[in-house]
């Protein structure tokens, strides 16, 4: 791992012991000082089963027909945005949102209609060359700027865990074969973000961390000796464990570093953390609120939020449309039947929740602008109307107006004009100061997104 040298130094210091360890350690590491530069943030969020596009099931509206009032696309033609019924919630955010049509990840094409959500944030070619998923856009950013906040990134979902190949329950991946489990319980997320010491005093926490660092060292010994006794196939599995312990060591270092910064004081008014899936609107808004609070307190700058997953038949998500709209059937059925009355309503409901989050960011002043100005928010799905199709995603980008992005347009990349969705990812990364040359199968950046 990269920070090997200071890693060792710090360990020596911790072993040096006691009370004296703390302060010089912090001051010596100048990069740990809070930065005065305003933060640049990013959220990637995903909804499943595609969206309602009755006049163009493959994701591109029919140019010969009038635009459908309940299509997910706000208007038919590329150019300045006008809003239909489905996209109405974004009308007041007109200058902060853009729609991108005709984009997708080539890596998801062969994954099949039930699985392409796996690569929404990664663009990995899981069927062809790569076999496994690869690093996601939020983690690319977190690897560069994550050290500036208490948490490098925050991985949320509505179902929790990692899921499995083709049935992902998380958008974020550390690298090939290393999904990051998403957290889905509001109370737990809140505690981890804002009450990480579980009621203990800072001194107690530091003593605990010091102990932990030494214990992890001994565990490493323990595991290495096990690894050496095993066959080659099995060593890979133990390596997975060793890596986890190493990552924990980093976390311990990081946490002890951050014990010198006061915890943010979070206003929990109106935050119902014991909310359940039985009340989808409360629940989803609570998840959005947690992202908002994490951004607002600069607890983290990069987040992913898997709002829905394709394979949710074992979870309450399966019943969301029933709870919200009184739809008689599984939420997933809306994607297959596309009933005229419910499909648009369902998209509209999703849009309302997302707009709620964007509006909250926009209503929070920050320097000369607002928080949305400095937050890039991606929202989309890995299918168009035809739910088994894996091309032409519905893509909605918002915010980042003071990070070089521009909005208010519907961009269209049909036919000849087609470029990889990853090009947009490259521009998103550039906006948050991550100077990548490429991401996944990108062929460049997305000049259309830039001011």
């Amino acid at each position: 791992m990269k920070p090997k040298t200071w890693h060792l130094n710090r360990r020596e210091m911790l072993k040096g012991g006691g009370v004296a360890l703390a302060l010089p350690f912090l001051n010596g590491m100048s990069w740990a000082a809070p930065s005065r530069v305003l933060p640049k943030r990013m959220l990637v969020s995903y909804f499943s089963y595609g969206a309602y596009m009755p006049n163009g099931p493959a994701g591109i509206p029919n140019p010969d027909k009038p635009h459908h009032d309940w299509s997910w696309w706000p208007c038919r033609d590329a150019g300045p945005l006008s809003f239909n019924q489905s996209s109405k919630p974004f009308e007041s955010l007109k200058d902060y949102v853009s729609y991108y049509r005709g984009l997708d990840h080539a890596g998801g094409w062969a994954l099949g209609g039930h699985s392409s959500g796996d690569v929404f944030a990664t663009g990995a070619d899981m069927v062809g060359s790569q076999k496994t998923n690869s690093i996601s856009i939020d983690q690319v950013a977190a690897n560069v700027h994550g050290h500036k906040t208490r948490f490098a990134s925050m991985v949320l979902g509505t179902e929790g865990g990692t899921g499995s190949y083709g049935r992902s329950k998380t958008l974020s991946h550390r690298g090939p074969g290393r999904p990051i489990p998403s957290m889905n319980k509001p109370q737990e997320i809140f505690n981890r973000l804002f009450k990480p010491y579980a009621g203990n005093g800072v001194e107690q926490v530091r003593a605990g961390l010091k102990r932990e660092a030494s214990i992890l060292d001994l565990l490493m010994d323990q595991s290495r000796s096990l690894k050496n006794r095993l066959g080659r196939e099995d060593q890979g599995k133990i390596e997975e464990y060793l890596e986890s312990i190493r990552a924990l060591e980093h976390r311990v270092e990081r946490t002890s570093r951050w014990t010198h910064q006061p915890l943010p004081d979070v206003d929990t008014k109106g935050l119902n953390l014991s909310v359940s899936h039985g009340d989808p609107e409360e629940y989803i808004r609570c998840m959005y609120d947690l992202v908002y609070l994490a951004f607002q307190t600069d607890t983290t700058r990069f987040a992913s939020l898997m709002l829905e997953s394709e394979n949710s038949s074992n979870s309450e998500l399966w019943n969301y449309a029933t709870y919200v709209l009184g739809y008689k059937g599984a939420t997933h059925d809306i994607a297959h039947k596309r009933p005229a009355d419910y499909s648009g309503q369902w998209d509209r409901w999703r849009a309302e929740q997302h707009a709620y989050f964007l509006q909250r960011l926009k209503d929070t002043p920050e320097a000369e602008g607002n928080m949305l100005d400095r937050t890039v928010v991606l929202w989309g799905s890995a299918h168009p109307h035809a739910s088994h199709s894996t091309k032409n995603y519905p893509i909605h980008l918002a915010g980042g107006n003071r990070l070089g992005l521009t909005h208010g347009q519907l961009h269209s990349f049909e036919g000849e004009k087609k470029v990889p969705l990853a090009n947009l990812f490259v521009s998103m990364l550039h906006a948050v100061d991550v100077p990548v040359k490429s991401f996944a199968d990108s062929t460049g950046s997305m000049p259309e997104a830039l001011a």
């Binding site: 062969a110 994954l111 099949g112 209609g113 039930h114 392409s116 929790g160 865990g161 990692t162 499995s164 190949y165 049935r167 329950k169 550390r174 999904p179 489990p181 102990r211 030494s214 214990i215 001994l218 565990l219 010994d221 323990q222 595991s223 000796s225 096990l226 006794r229 095993l230 066959g231 196939e233 099995d234 890979g236 599995k237 133990i238 997975e240 464990y241 986890s244 312990i245 990552a247 924990l248 976390r251 014991s274 039985g278 009340d279 038949s313 074992n314 979870s315 309450e316 399966w318 019943n319 029933t322 008689k328 059937g329 599984a330 059925d333 297959h336 039947k337 035809a386 088994h388 199709s389």
Partner: protein
């Protein structure tokens, strides 16, 4: 011995026969190529690649995983007669097929026996969350709820998640393991001072019996404020430890009712208009004694496993946390939605209730002294004592004797933390917590030739297979003596383990995944079509929503299925019982749902069946029928997939990308009263859909008599007819509802289909008949493969093919008995890990 001799003769016979047939390349050229050319490549060749299978590019090299898989697939479909398809003109003669399958099989055997290029799946895999929680339970001696704090294990329908491929590990997980480990040790090791005992008691008197329920009564509905049904609040309790709840209760039984199921739950208060309160059941009782002979009932649990209500902050001061004990009457005879009729339903009278915690027969409790045992060494030579404590604990936690180096390492941790944590108890908690995040604990035990012997591995393999947990002392002892691999010992152990209570965990976990049952819990039931299936709140803000905090018929259905499978194993019944049986595993609410009379109480038992119940076997279980329906109507495709995957053992591919969906799915058809059979027929008219659906749909049609809530329903509304809506007033009770259904359901459902490569079958009876007559061996092989795959924690490959073949032959000779099958699996060389080594 005799068996082996016979097998040898059979093998020789084979060899002799094969001798005549050309082998290797010669056979490929003279047998396989002409056969493929004339029968296969038209559809599976360079021009067409139906089902993404091509044969024109095969050569005589069968080695290599990819080739093996392809050839095995070809062999299987040829043997089963699935290919060439029935509609093909000029199907090959049976002898031709036999010739080519013989060639493939013998070539496959050669490759497998040479063991060439065998890809060894990693054996090191972490414990599943289920195994992890069980292991901790058996290690410390009591159950702690721990999985809620872990990331959910991945799942995939019809696959077991205990393979290395699924059981990944990341830092988040290790982080949670560490939190859990500390929580575990905080509960397992107590401080030496005997703690204060918390006691709460409350009594109830029967006032005002003239109207409604008495103030000391708990009924199904109509419970009054201040009655025991509103529970007993607790403001003081210990952080950890055992508690006991005692209550004196008796039953008021209407004529014909034999007893009342009483459940005690503990957690947050449920007397709110909210469905999000968290509670956990403590225990169940069946109350039959009358009020003239009140009886005391006792319930026990671990306090830390029950949710609590955080105290509110009042004027800057946090009030104490609280919990509430709530007794519930779970009586359900199928009339729960008939409105509030509390006085004609059975009730429970509770005179008083007591709570006491912590309770321990001795102090410190046994689970403490099991770790920090009594010994003069503790005073005489504390370091030696600490080492001994570590040695004993690690040897159990690692499921094999600890090495000196390992004890040393943990001893160093002890020494490291002791100056700071001061007491031996605190330091030992921290030290042993690290044992619980060591890879030797978190990962399955694998022989390494040094510290872990082959029999150590075998002991763990057995216990994780049959208990989902660590080996007990007896198993570890046999492992240490190296005797576990002996056939007689193994037989005895497997029988002993399956008779143990812990084997229920295995059966439940295995069956849930094998039959892919979990999704049945979230299918949205259409409460307009099935207004009486779930139990709805009858008044208040949440009127009409599902009643929370009490088990539903859906929950019971999971026990119906898992308990049934456990009973089959206990009886050593034949695999045929999976298809049909003369008994079902039911309790009263379920029996009422299925229309089986004479079952009282909520405890499950084997109930004898009559033909008119239309039950028996797994195929009519509500768990499967609901999970593979839409909540409104049956879904024949889901059910067909289920039958083929779970019962027949076929792998059904998911629909490819970009196929149009079956737009008129079953749900809509029921609402519009169209028949699904016609819809599917229309769907099949498209050639792209037909290739797969022609082999799929017919399997689902015979299930059509069973509706979306798992009941037998041979009649549906007439096609296109307008039906009168459900009227709560007129059809509110059971009898009225039955009359209503009779009035609208007038058309007989068609459930006749010709199964692929088989005869026409009519309804469930026809399907069962066919399966028992023609597919018993396939079903048995499927069960056997799944049990084996679950037991060894990896997918089976072509390399296991011939071992499975032998096992299934033996099983066939023994009428495919399930318990014997499990014993044979444990004795097999694939399970014991000697295959290929």
């Amino acid at each position: 011995m005799i068996r082996r001799g016979l097998a040898l003769v059979a093998l020789l016979g084979c060899a002799l026969q094969l001798h005549a047939a050309p082998e290797g390349r010669a056979g490929f050229e003279s047998i396989a190529v002409p056969f493929f050319k004339s029968n296969c490549v038209k559809c599976h060749g360079s021009e067409k690649a139906k089902g993404q299978v091509t044969l024109h590019d095969l050569d005589d090299n069968l080695a290599g995983e990819r080739n093996l898989k392809r050839w095995e697939l070809i062999l299987d479909v040829l043997k089963a007669g699935e290919m060439p398809p029935e509609e093909a003109v000029n199907r090959p003669a049976k002898t031709e097929v036999a010739e080519v399958t013989q060639w493939i099989e013998s070539e496959l055997r050669k490759v497998v026996e040479q063991g060439r290029e065998e890809v060894v799946a990693p054996q090191v895999r972490r414990l599943t969350n289920f195994e992890y929680e069980n292991t901790i339970r058996d290690l410390i001696g009591f159950r702690l709820k721990l999985t809620d704090n872990l990331p959910k294990d991945p799942e995939k329908p019809y696959h077991f998640n205990n393979t290395a491929e699924f059981m990944l590990l990341g830092p988040e997980q290790v982080d949670r393991y560490l939190e859990n480990a500390r929580k575990v040790m905080a509960s397992a090791i107590v401080d030496p001072v005997e703690p204060e005992v918390h006691r709460v008691r409350r009594e109830w008197q029967s006032h005002g019996l003239d109207r409604g329920l008495g103030l000391d009564e708990v009924g199904v509905w109509g419970n009054r404020r201040h009655s025991p049904a509103h529970g007993m609040g607790l403001k003081s309790f210990p952080q950890t430890g055992d508690f006991v709840i005692r209550l004196q209760a008796s039953a008021i039984l209407p004529p014909g009712v034999k007893g009342v199921p009483l459940r005690v739950i503990l957690g947050q208060t449920i007397q709110l208009n909210s469905s999000t309160q968290r509670v956990e059941p403590v225990g169940d009782a069946y109350v039959v004694n009358s009020i003239d002979e009140p009886k005391v009932y006792e319930f026990r649990g671990r306090i830390e496993n029950f949710p609590l209500e955080r105290g509110r902050v009042v004027r800057g001061k946090r009030q104490p946390d609280s919990r509430v004990i709530t007794p519930q009457v779970l009586y359900d005879d199928g009339t729960l939605n008939d409105g509030n009729r509390n006085l004609i339903m059975p009730r429970v009278v509770i005179n008083w209730m007591e709570f006491e915690a912590p309770v321990a027969d001795v102090w410190p409790p046994e689970h403490h002294t099991r770790i920090l045992f009594d010994s003069p060494l503790r005073e005489k030579d504390p370091d030696a004592y600490v080492r001994e404590v570590i040695d004993r604990f690690v040897s159990r936690a690692f499921r094999r004797p600890a090495s000196k180096a390992e004890v040393d390492r943990f001893f160093r941790i002890y020494k490291l933390v002791n100056p700071e944590l001061k007491t031996m108890e605190a330091s030992m908690r921290e030290t042993l917590a690290t044992v619980l995040i060591s890879p030797q604990f978190l990962y399955h035990t694998v022989a390494d030739g040094k510290l872990t012997s082959h029999t150590d591995e075998l002991a763990s393999r057995l216990s994780y297979f049959l208990w989902g947990s660590m080996p007990d002392a007896a198993l570890l002892k046999l492992a240490a003596e190296g005797r576990l691999a002996e056939s007689e010992v193994m037989k005895k152990e497997v029988s002993r383990m399956l008779a143990d209570e812990r084997s229920k965990d295995f059966v439940r976990n295995f069956t849930m995944q094998w039959l892919s049952l979990a999704k049945m819990k979230t299918v949205p039931i259409n409460n307009q079509l099935f207004p009486r299936f779930l139990y709805y709140v009858s008044a208040g803000e949440r009127r009409g929503t599902e009643q929370p905090y009490r088990p539903t018929i859906r929950d019971y259905m999971l026990e119906e299925t898992t308990g049934y499978v456990a009973e089959l194993i206990r009886r050593n019944a034949s695999v045929a019982s999976l298809v049909d049986s003369d008994f079902a595993w039911l309790n009263q609410p379920l029996a009422a749902h299925y229309g089986v009379p004479g079952v009282d109480g909520n405890q499950f038992r084997a109930v004898s069946l009559k033909p008119e119940y239309r039950l028996g076997g797994l195929l009519t279980h509500g768990s499967m029928l609901i999970g593979n329906a839409t909540g409104s109507a049956p879904h024949p495709i889901y059910r067909a997939v289920w039958l083929r995957e779970a019962i027949l053992g076929d792998e059904v591919k998911p629909p490819p990308a970009d196929v149009p969906a079956l737009t008129d799915t079953a749900g809509e058809s029921a609402e519009k009263a169209l028949t699904i059979k016609d819809l599917l027929a229309r769907h099949r008219q498209k050639e792209s859909c037909n290739d797969c659906h022609a082999r799929l749909d017919p399997w689902g049609i015979p299930f059509e008599h069973y509706n979306a809530i798992g009941r037998y329903q041979p009649f549906v509304p007439k096609e296109g007819a307008r039906v009168s809506g459900f009227n709560e007033k007129a059809h509110g009770d059971l009898a009225g509802y039955a009359a209503y259904l009779r009035s609208i359901n007038t058309e007989k459902v068609e459930a006749v289909a010709r199964v692929p490569n088989g005869p026409e079958v009519e309804g469930m009876a026809g399907l069962k008949n066919y399966l028992l007559k023609h597919r018993k061996n396939d079903i048995a092989e499927n069960i056997l493969r799944r049990l084996l795959s679950y037991g060894i924690g990896r997918k089976l490959t072509t390399h296991d093919r011939f071992v499975v073949g032998e096992l299934i032959e033996d099983s066939a000779a023994n009428n495919y008995r399930l318990l014997d099958m499990i014993i044979a699996i444990c004795e097999s060389r694939v399970f014991s890990g000697t295959a290929g080594k």
